[in-house]
Symmetry: C3
Subunit: 656 residues, 3 copies
Amino acid sequence: MPPTRAAHRRVTPRGATFMRFGVCYYPEQWPRGRWADDAASMVELGLELVRIGEFAWSRYEPARGRFEFGWLDEAIDTLANAGLKVVLGTPTATPPVWLARERPEILSVGPDGRRRAYGSRRHTSTTSRAYREEAARIVSVLVGRYGQHPAIAAWQIDNEPGNHDSARCWSEESHLAFQAWLSCRFGGSIEALNDAWGTVFWSMTYPSFEAVELPVPTVTGHNPSLLVAHLAFAAEQAAEALAEQRAIVTAGSPGRELFTNLYLGDIDIDPRQVARPTGLGSVDIYPHGLGNADDVAFVLDLARGSALAAEQGPEGLGGRAWIVEQQPGPVNWTGDNPAVPAGQVRLWCWQAAMHGVETLLWFRWRAARAGQEQHHAALLRHDGTRAPAWDEAARFIREYERVGSLSPHLLPRPPARVALVHDHLDAWMLEVIPQVHDASHRMLVTAAHAAARRLGLDVDVVPADADLTGYEVVLAPALHTVTPDRIARLEAALAAGALVILGPRSLVRDQHAVWVDEPVPGGLSARLGARVEHAGSPAGWPRDASDPSQLVLDDPREPLAVGGWIETLTDVADDATVLGRARGGPLDGEPVVVRRGGLVHLGAASMEAWARVLGLLLRRRPRPDHLEVFERGGRHVTLDHRTRTIGGLGSVSDRD
Amino acid sequence: MPPTRAAHRRVTPRGATFMRFGVCYYPEQWPRGRWADDAASMVELGLELVRIGEFAWSRYEPARGRFEFGWLDEAIDTLANAGLKVVLGTPTATPPVWLARERPEILSVGPDGRRRAYGSRRHTSTTSRAYREEAARIVSVLVGRYGQHPAIAAWQIDNEPGNHDSARCWSEESHLAFQAWLSCRFGGSIEALNDAWGTVFWSMTYPSFEAVELPVPTVTGHNPSLLVAHLAFAAEQAAEALAEQRAIVTAGSPGRELFTNLYLGDIDIDPRQVARPTGLGSVDIYPHGLGNADDVAFVLDLARGSALAAEQGPEGLGGRAWIVEQQPGPVNWTGDNPAVPAGQVRLWCWQAAMHGVETLLWFRWRAARAGQEQHHAALLRHDGTRAPAWDEAARFIREYERVGSLSPHLLPRPPARVALVHDHLDAWMLEVIPQVHDASHRMLVTAAHAAARRLGLDVDVVPADADLTGYEVVLAPALHTVTPDRIARLEAALAAGALVILGPRSLVRDQHAVWVDEPVPGGLSARLGARVEHAGSPAGWPRDASDPSQLVLDDPREPLAVGGWIETLTDVADDATVLGRARGGPLDGEPVVVRRGGLVHLGAASMEAWARVLGLLLRRRPRPDHLEVFERGGRHVTLDHRTRTIGGLGSVSDRD
Amino acid sequence: MPPTRAAHRRVTPRGATFMRFGVCYYPEQWPRGRWADDAASMVELGLELVRIGEFAWSRYEPARGRFEFGWLDEAIDTLANAGLKVVLGTPTATPPVWLARERPEILSVGPDGRRRAYGSRRHTSTTSRAYREEAARIVSVLVGRYGQHPAIAAWQIDNEPGNHDSARCWSEESHLAFQAWLSCRFGGSIEALNDAWGTVFWSMTYPSFEAVELPVPTVTGHNPSLLVAHLAFAAEQAAEALAEQRAIVTAGSPGRELFTNLYLGDIDIDPRQVARPTGLGSVDIYPHGLGNADDVAFVLDLARGSALAAEQGPEGLGGRAWIVEQQPGPVNWTGDNPAVPAGQVRLWCWQAAMHGVETLLWFRWRAARAGQEQHHAALLRHDGTRAPAWDEAARFIREYERVGSLSPHLLPRPPARVALVHDHLDAWMLEVIPQVHDASHRMLVTAAHAAARRLGLDVDVVPADADLTGYEVVLAPALHTVTPDRIARLEAALAAGALVILGPRSLVRDQHAVWVDEPVPGGLSARLGARVEHAGSPAGWPRDASDPSQLVLDDPREPLAVGGWIETLTDVADDATVLGRARGGPLDGEPVVVRRGGLVHLGAASMEAWARVLGLLLRRRPRPDHLEVFERGGRHVTLDHRTRTIGGLGSVSDRD
């Protein structure tokens, strides 16, 4: 049972929700003599929450059953005495060396068949019974000791599961579990699996579930049905392992917030399987890893949406989200690790605030002197002095409190008019059949999201089982999988008067990755009055002599790039309207955007194309790329991602 | 004994050979109720041949010895009843799961020492005795059942052997077979091998054949003699396995055409070892995978040439070729998979026709709903409606029949005046010693071929053991290996008055990949009156400040790019003529093209350089890159690969 | 005990040191009948030394204990009879096949856990006891036979150890040896290791040395402390193995030069561990592999410096160096292998001479007909005729002798005023934590070295334990590791009046790769009156819309690129001077170059920035990039690396 929300929110004098701030802290990495000073400094900065413990297993259980909690008791008490609340992390992302040596089967096996070496992190297999047992054991110990501690405000379960492509495991134990999972899914009938997956293709008919191999890399590609099933299995195993931990924490430490912080740049884990049971989405925000400001905006809305329950419709907030790790400066893991200019950290925080994030913790308090992340910036430098991020965090907190006090109406996120339907299954589908470069599920979805944001529209990123009837506009980019339920929900939205825009790669295959036996978009082609003909690259052949097709809408002088994917439509009904056509390239003149009634099919992948089509349909003009606008309390709050300045926030604004 | 040719050709009213058309069909992937409709539709389109069965093993032998041929009987009869003939494929590219589990030794082992995982295709080892036994068993069963069936017009043996770099196998069984093969090749004398390979280099002298390891990747490169031998061994193993199947088919199903469809974008398999015994070359034509229109043209001529017998000279057709898989639209496996504009499929078919292909089957009838190739276009869409390729195929067939009826003299390929000598051994040589980027055997050979085509010349791609004396021009690009027989044949051509043009990387090393102990071009340097000095990259050093050398021929204002490879010549005899020199770059001023009598050495790799030199020597002006011209019956038939239009075909032409 | 230097130098009539020349020769690869001719031709060319034997083990021990030295006796005598001296190589880089089969444990194991396949070279593990035993055995045999031979002038120990990333071995034997090495290093205390490495990070605390795993690749990065220790261990193992060989040679063949030829493009081996004990640095110079002329210059100075003893200060020569393999034309192993224009080989030789190299051998006499290096140029072609390099070598030798005779004062290298501090430990540190692209230790160090060379300054590349007090300028680019001894030496140099310039990435972490607990530059921040703030990429975010920061010094109209790394400084003291600031990009306006007294911190990585800063400080104007100037005997000797011409060498000069 998720905790009630109200218990964890502060309310401003005028009634608006108020963000809370915090930081990730590793007392085990610093001298005890420093802890009290650190705590006092955190309070001075305006922090309330401190996440600790998620990588400290070896420090409090240095050998099996030998627990040394004294230091952790003291650390928690030191923080509590300073007035801080603690978010305690379960340590299962980095089991100690002694445990990996005692029970090596907790380690996962790579696609090369070798057991992962110890070192780094996330080298464990969530399918491993030994891993599950040890996780349950240590979490029980932790909950037994700290479950009732008054300073514990929340629990973090594990840390970034699925990161580093770690969800899948190729061990024999995982292999057997996968076979059992398939058997369960297909009611014990291998014929059902063979039928559903079309294994007659290339003679891959399985005589039994025992004959199903893991998709070990071989001479060329595996059946996509197998690949998608394996991704789904791995994600479910991870979600199940997290659920086991949550059950222990919920029983032993009731009333606390519960979450697992995900890095949503990955697709290994289905965020809804993790966040929905707790009603709280949690995301680690590293803009340098995610892409650009549009990618950050999308991930923030995805995090909120991941916490939504099934059947939920627009209700204003569109889901709850925490940022448990927020980037405070350059990081160490993105390959080239750009510099961070003055004002950027503050702007990232304001972006989080305007997207409705409830709680924000910076990662991390002080830069690590040892280990893999020495070049990761922090609020303090390696030597404990204040880094530039400290000043930016302080400024942001001051500004936020000031706006909350003087103009609280600018902060709450109003109900969104736009829903973007997003489901992880579709991401896996396109992952295993990419067909072209640069048309991943994330790219296609982000383009649609960013386009709506260009028009100043708030967007709820909602699950495929959401109630869509309360939205004015429903965006369905890369809604790849066709199910009767999805079609029914889209039909319901249309019936309720919504404008429904299908994006490229939508409604193509069933849940087993088999192409529909009807025109695409499956289930809605008749209603659209058109069917998809070409679906793929806009480029021609030969590559060196061919420009890709572009898109022309109402103004023939402004052809638009279509991005990595294009779809042309054919058999267009007389009462359907062609809103845009291909220009140049191999598909010159073919319809690309078709509308019939409230239903639109948009066959281009670029943000520009989405923004122009949305602008036409909604009679709004897109803003320049660097401006992000929020309509709040009758005003426009504007974040300028190029100049890193803010407008519309009253005295906090850098400009008018 | 190959079937006589006449039995398999249709003749137009006026005597010209007439192409036949067909399609690849997978009845096992579609409901039985659909088969008769499909067959009728094929006939309506003008098809005669239907290839079936090559991936259906698991469907007719679902468990060892349990055969379920009823469906296949019915499928064949359905097709036959509609008036279609069947090409039956042996299913050895995709053995069933149960067989791989029962006898895992049929699966090949990768260079990493791991047995290939089941899944995808071509994961088998042709060296495996178990694989050979099972292949013989299933082919015998098939031949026993269908060998005398009147509807069976041809047999396809296996499917695209060597594709996906699958010919080599690193199993212990393959290791032992390789050692035995080497022992046989060197008469049981390890000293002979050590001498031939120069193993004293880096102390690699073998004490015995048992000491020869497979070239497993190690800290740096292996001896190229070992690498070439391993490539040759693998290709021979594959050819031997195909021969075993052919022997069974020939015995049990006499009078049918026999072929193995090769994807000639690979070099794993020597096409002559496969096609020559049957007198029929077969190739799968996927322009998007092969490169550009020049690459397609070359592969078409290579397919024809692969069927030529030893000692064969120009005789007009220059070999027989079938296309058993022709691309009908976008495919799924080339990485970015470009779009296909209107008219392209038709043009590809006309290119095949003009290059003298006898039979053309499109791949495939209906787009696959399941499995790895869902994005592969077909004549029908996934839902069974007609795709754009259906209309283009229909148009092409109508046009072809019309030309055959009204202007049959435009279709037959006349005897070629130009031979291009091509041998797979040379491709392997350059594969294992590339020396530079962008100078592979295929690149070098295609440049010469395309240049001749720019001049409107038909080219026979002939084996190294061909009789060259009937040709006016002999092109020898990348004819790397020196053998007495090769030199004798080139000398004979010169004696017969031919112009012989040696291209770059010609006549350098012996059949064991050891450099000749004489000037290059080995065996012909004295006759040329010059020797190769620099042979390699035209680029200078340091890389960021150096432009590559260009080539200047008669007009100093028109320097030509030389491509990825340049050769300069030195010790030029007084009676030899320097036709071209390097301009700029590190080799400025050095001779690059030298002629003495009928022998020319051309030290540049680009198509442009070849075309200009050929134009000078033959007094012809090259056409623009996008035009492919065929001199047919006194007229010029022109395919424009840029506009996808046709000229010179009478009423079929798009333009004059 | 290293041999005295004087015994190995020739002196010109006027007293200058005189280079000796030679070549690498493989008599075992050529017919005996050719040897005498080859020897005579070498003498004709002006050679004195011939290196032989380093890859011939299988030829003189074709089976265990069966020695066939007759051919080698004859080869040595043939060379000696012609008046040549022999450099005999120990053959341990390529053990014979029979030995690898008999004792496979001599082969190293890769990070994938597989024992390296035989083939190529350097597949052995220097940690292997079997390898050490066999190396000692064969070297003892060789020394016993040839140790007193009057023709033997020098011994080469092994060949290019560490090349092809071969120093590290992942065998269980190496694993155990690594654990023992760590135990020894940390006094048997695993707690000491855990403290030193900060293993509490990500819970990697080791319970014992037995629990330390090799850094086998796993889901993400390993602790950099572990990685650096593993690199250091592997280098020490290699150095120890070489020392064992040297001990045998020194005992049995006294008075000869001893060296191991290193390819200093790698960083696997610490050149000082190898060269210092013999007082002679030896390097193989392949400009095409090393980079550009600046890289060659640096490596030449590094080779000299690698032979310096601890505590050594400037003494004129700055160390002794031989080039045992000098590139004579195109090579076969650099990927694209550029062409070599006329005059280049001669210029490379003059560059070596002007940098003070004592002895130069070309690699190799005749181009190999068999094996991996067939495309490697040589002084003779494959067929034994003279290649272009022969003429260039002959010209260079003539010129060198002429200058030595007429203007001997132009040849000796004068004492250097500039020291560049270089230590291999720093290279390993930046290897395991690169943080950005294009800021490797080599790149950072070469930029500083090249800048000094632009000003015409000779540079001693000195070890971190050198006496720096005799230099006017001390450059410390990427002097990453902080130790008390290093700080003391830099302070001593400052006290002695030197200008000390710290480059980027200097004085950051301790010898275990843990960040210092004080401001950077550690140990000198207070003296500098500033601390490093941003240290990393000059690029901004998002990547597609952001230009990197540049550097502006005295002239605001000339912003300079900063290269792959930038450091900004903060807390600048009142009496410190900001000499340069960032311009544009994310760090606009921040201090980048700060000076206080004799200490300068330069936070840019480009050669241009170094050259401009040095020019400002030393009041010299940098020469253009293509000119390398040597101040010799009051004149300027100039090598023009663009035109490949020489100036200032009297009658040898191409221009004034």
